[in-house]
Point group: C2
Chain length 281, copies 2
Amino acid sequence: MCLPGTVEKVAERARTEGVSRRSFLATAGAAGAAGVTATLLPAPAEARGKGRKRRPRALDLTHTFAAGFPMYIGNEPSRRTLTTIPADGFYGQEWTFGEHSCTHMDAPGHFVEGGRLTPEITLSELMLPVAVIDISERARSDPDAVVTPDDLVAYERRHGRIPRNSAVFMDSGWAKRLPDEDAYKNADSSGTYHFPGFGIEAVDWLLDRRSVRAIGVDTLSLDPGNSTTFDTHVTWLGADRFGIENLANLGKLRPRGATAFIGVIPWEEGSGGPCRVIAYS
Amino acid sequence: MCLPGTVEKVAERARTEGVSRRSFLATAGAAGAAGVTATLLPAPAEARGKGRKRRPRALDLTHTFAAGFPMYIGNEPSRRTLTTIPADGFYGQEWTFGEHSCTHMDAPGHFVEGGRLTPEITLSELMLPVAVIDISERARSDPDAVVTPDDLVAYERRHGRIPRNSAVFMDSGWAKRLPDEDAYKNADSSGTYHFPGFGIEAVDWLLDRRSVRAIGVDTLSLDPGNSTTFDTHVTWLGADRFGIENLANLGKLRPRGATAFIGVIPWEEGSGGPCRVIAYS
């Protein structure tokens, strides 16, 4: 894996040039890490003229893509070191995982023959205003709680109409159970999961009455964990919409007014797949 | 891989609910596909008040993440089908690849021991104004062409100062050689690659005189293909900056005024890794 002569030359250059000369890590700050709190963004070049206001605030809605992250079904993601700096001059890993690992998209083609696949999701669908439906209080006492039409109506009464071409995210408080796999899956003795999701009535309500592009959840599935018929998947993806599972930090997101960037890798013939989701407000 | 009873129930629901009822694919549009031209974005909810202007224009700078995409070194990405809708009720793939596949980030820790890894790249570094340095004309006659300080000075004379906390992308026209691996690598009879990159003098100029967070290239490496010492990697990453390789569509991007969203998946202990890069202007 190593190019001839690379190790020595890289090491030499690092010694004499890179590290010492450039005050390596002096500027790191290392607030870092997905799942960390809000950060101020630099204002884009053109937004810095007089009369412009504060910088947009960014919030990471993505879990670190980690080996062993709990899966709804199938093998957990795994990684191995391919090269190291001492041996090869540069460090890199190899990953193996199913597309429905960690924070990821469900494309229409995940459940529907002929449905759109990941590279066919348009750019206009990857930057959406967000409505956050908070059912965390109910989910605390009832792990089978689902988003209902009443939740959507109550949201609109308080925060105004769900915007056109938006994403509607369920905040059930479930992400706090990570990294405890058992608590996150919450399986009973028969193996049935119990965690919140979107109820089919809420999905029907959104499709019939509003123009929404995506739904997202802070759990392992768009459907509640105890579903055996996957009504929400079939109906939502069947309507050519996509979903996002295993979102992070929804409890820190304002209920309305944020815009989510959904940075899905355009996985070839993908049924969805890992994405970076960041909210700006 | 299939849950008991899933196939039948999903198929039934798809027949009776999803597809027919929801006029499946009626809204698809399917402009889709990474690497496609600019798309109008819906204006965020709060930007639609009176007095606001046009929607931001989006341009995908990401190649489709494809099995067999040319690698600088190491195995090409591979995929296999894990489940299908007829057999399992839902479709999904498994991927295996090295972190430096397709459009991807090089984090500081890729070349420097103790350097920041992917999850430590801060949110403020993932949304940057972009300066595009066009060396495509020179690269047409000289595959070993590099970005020089003269190119940067000429850029600033024409387009104004490189913004603070920006990304500087090299447009060498090289992405047009894809998907022809031989043309993209352009190896001579000894196996040495010949494609453009950032010259070390340009990197030094940027580090000494401007405040730039990222450099990016439309080739396989931040360094020119014929480099054996990787000066640009070592110096740039050694200064706690990151790079992006295999960018797409840079020839369609305005030289200044766009903002790039760099949606890198927060790969655990990642040396960088696949990212979705979209420019807005």
